[in-house]
């Protein structure tokens, strides 16, 4: 693997290899005094975040440090981006400065792909840490790791992705990855929040949440992305919450083994009720913990082998 840009096109075996590595990393780090592995000693990882993020940036930084890579964080605010430097020039600068891997989050869909093209002649790998409304592959991988852990597998499981699918890169990455891993995915959202062309995705769609709940193995709630909404997608927050929010009554309609995921940050009281988010059925903190192991696994697969 040279870059990780999307889960679309990530093969079953490749995805499974990353997830297996993440499992072993979790096991091997469990209960250890020294949570540091020498594997990426001498490699340099640069995170480049052009959009706000807490968990993803911190998670990548910890992952890199636990693998002994040198991690440098660049944020758009404090860098030459503020002076008007283009993404291409910034990327070439970071590569020339010795980056073995650039982890990029960008508000424009496709930015990491352009970056990967510009860096094709260098030895720098590119990881997409979320691009606009396109993809967020490591989030999908950590969701898959959490589902494997909680459900014992993904093949044949029925998983609903609920809410603002239109603006969600998490949903897109999850749809591709879960389909590749053999899950049955149903998107549940109001028609205004389903993207055009969704009929070509490997999913089914539904507008009514309640009727789906009893048949699910997992439900993934999406944040309503008000910052990307420039128009009226639903009448009011209250109405959205009544129709698509996961409350205690709906939690009770899920089978006993079913698990609740949320990529965070959560809007409690909007798409997920507080008691649901804090219930043992929710795997939301597991997702964050698994995020570190999955990102370690991604860095391992990108940087630890021989150069391609």
């Amino acid at each position: 693997m040279r870059d990780l840009l999307t889960t679309d096109g990530l093969g079953h075996d490749e995805a499974t290899a990353v997830l297996d590595t993440a499992d072993e990393l979790k096991r091997t780090l469990l209960g250890r005094e020294v949570r540091k592995l020498p594997t990426l000693r001498g490699r340099t990882v640069i995170t480049m975040f052009y959009e706000n993020s807490t968990r993803t940036r911190v998670s990548f930084e910890i992952a890199g440090k636990w693998m002994s890579a040198d991690v440098v964080n660049v944020s758009a605010g404090g860098s030459s981006v503020g002076k008007g430097e283009s993404l291409r020039d910034t990327a070439l600068t970071l590569s020339a400065a010795g980056a073995d891997c650039v982890i990029v989050r960008h508000p424009a869909s496709g930015a990491p792909h352009r970056l990967s093209g510009w860096l094709a002649d260098t030895r720098t790998s590119v990881v997409n840490a979320g691009d606009g409304m396109h993809e967020h592959p490591t989030q999908a991988l950590l969701d898959a790791a959490t589902l494997r852990e909680r459900l014992g597998g993904i093949e044949g499981r029925r998983i609903a992705i609920v809410g603002d699918v239109l603006h969600s890169r998490v949903a897109r990455s999850n749809v591709h990855l879960l389909a590749t891993l053999g899950a049955e995915v149903v998107l549940v959202a109001p028609p205004t929040l389903l993207p055009h062309g969704v009929e070509h995705w490997p999913v089914t769609t539904a507008f009514d949440l309640d009727s789906q709940l009893p048949g699910l193995d997992a439900v993934m709630m999406l944040r309503v992305q008000a910052e990307r909404m420039h128009g009226a997608f639903f009448p009011s927050a209250r109405e959205y919450s009544i129709a698509y929010g996961l409350n205690e009554k709906r939690l009770a309609m899920l089978p006993d083994h079913a698990v609740v995921l949320h990529p965070g940050p959560m809007l409690r009281g909007m798409e997920i009720a507080s008691p649901v988010a804090d219930s043992p059925r929710a795997a939301i903190t597991d997702q964050v913990a698994n995020g570190v192991h999955v990102r370690m696994a991604v860095l391992y697969h990108l940087l630890a082998g021989e150069e391609l």
């Binding site: 290899a17 590595t21 096991r27 209960g31 020294v34 592995l37 630890a304 082998g305």
Partner: protein
């Protein structure tokens, strides 16, 4: 009958049969019991307080089943239960960047850990010593053992580091180009040690 001089050497030769492997593991178990004073045989003042039993850690792939077999034999001969587990060293190897990405293997440190215990690393073949070097590094991230020993089924020589084994099943002089493979029922369906020539 030995092949006539000058004829092509047989491509593959059996160094140890299934019976040999079983006897070798049993002999190594006796040596471990003796060396770690597991049977309570103390100094001239009679039996000393028995030390806590050693922890056997196999290096995957084939070190792991070997460690479990050795532990079972030790318990059978001495009556002392000996914890056995696995220690993957992939993340500590010095040749990661020379090969395609390797999948990780299982690490399973027995409950109770390794602090202040004698740890016996178990592997199938001792060759350059680099795997053992990686294992020593891995071990020090898991805790601080009282002592570390090494048990190998086959020592084929050609060390590249100052490392030696405490328990050796069989010493086999080899040339560098030969390939020694240990087969175990758990991983390969049968027990044998083979050498493939030239």
């Amino acid at each position: 009958m030995a092949p006539p001089r000058g004829a092509a050497a047989p491509a593959e030769r059996e160094l140890l049969s299934a019976g040999d492997v079983a006897r070798t593991v049993a002999r190594m178990a006796h040596q471990v019991i003796e060396k770690t004073a597991l049977d309570g045989a103390g100094g001239p003042d009679g039996p000393a307080e028995p030390p806590p039993p050693p922890v056997l850690l196999g290096i995957p792939t084939r070190g792991t089943p070997l460690a479990h077999r050795l532990a079972a034999r030790i318990e059978e001969f001495s009556g002392v239960a000996v914890p056995a587990g696995a220690l993957d060293v992939t993340l500590y190897r010095d040749d990661l960047r020379r090969r395609p990405t390797r999948p990780l293997e299982e690490t399973d440190v027995p409950v109770g850990g390794i602090d202040d215990r004698v740890v016996i690393l178990v592997d199938d073949v001792l060759f350059s010593g680099r795997t053992v070097r990686s294992a020593l590094d891995a071990l020090s991230d898991h805790g601080r053992p009282r002592a570390v020993q090494l048990a190998v089924l086959v020592d084929r020589g050609h060390r590249e580091l100052p490392i030696r084994a405490d328990y050796v099943g069989k010493n086999v002089p080899t040339s560098r180009t030969e390939e020694v493979s240990v087969l175990l029922a758990e991983t390969d369906g049968r027990d044998a040690v083979l050498i493939r020539g030239q």
